[in-house]
Amino acid sequence: EAAVTQSPRNKVTVTGGNVTLSCRQTNSHNYMYWYRQDTGHGLRLIHYSYGAGNLQIGDVPDGYKATRTTQEDFFLLLELASPSQTSLYFCASSDQQRGQNTLYFGAGTRLSVL
């Protein structure tokens, strides 16, 4: 089973605050993703990347930046956090180059913006 580690697991910040969510995968997967999960919306894709230095825009990118610094590390940045960004955030990875398109998720980060 692929290993995807997210940190922190829980985070509380205030409106206008700066937040960085971290994700590391240790299986050399080329694709990494950030999702948010909200009641009534399922999982929605924020940003994704197919390699170090690459960034692709997802379906709900507004208010988020992301950066893929290495094959292993993918960060999600909220530079001016708003209460609407209170959510459960998941990072995931997959290895589509080898045709193994299975998505592996981290444990999630619960973010509250007060």
Binding site: G42, L88, Q96, G99, N101, L103, G108, R110
Partner: protein, 109 residues
């Protein structure tokens, strides 16, 4: 874009009953995956099944590609099956997965 509809939205079963969860999608699916979300939030992959039938334990996934539907059958349900089940679809090998809204399953003793 791709639309994914799951039904039912929620389901309550007595332990030992079977369940059939449905996933319908709007356009051809090259990739299809079923996930289970634990009540605590952890998401795990159950099946990667863009076509045909796959089994693992008490779970069976059947995808009929040309009818744009997939089902997840849970036999002899247990309380530990409680949680939310998602299907996710992509139209091509390199396009992003689109998730359904999920089916919330509660199995009571």
């Amino acid at each position: 874009g791709q639309q994914v509809q799951q039904s039912p939205a929620s389901l309550v079963l007595q332990e030992g009953e079977n369940a059939e969860l449905q996933c319908n999608f709007s356009s051809t699916a090259t990739r299809l995956q079923w996930f289970y979300q634990h009540p605590g939030g952890r998401l795990v992959s159950l099946f990667y099944n863009p076509s045909g039938t796959k089994h693992t334990g008490r779970l069976t996934s059947t995808t009929v590609t040309n009818e744009r539907r997939s089902s997840l059958h849970i036999s002899s349900s247990q309380t530990t099956d409680s949680g939310t089940y998602f299907c996710a679809i992509a139209s091509s090998s390199f396009s992003k997965l689109v998730f359904g809204q999920g089916t919330s399953l509660s199995v009571v003793p």
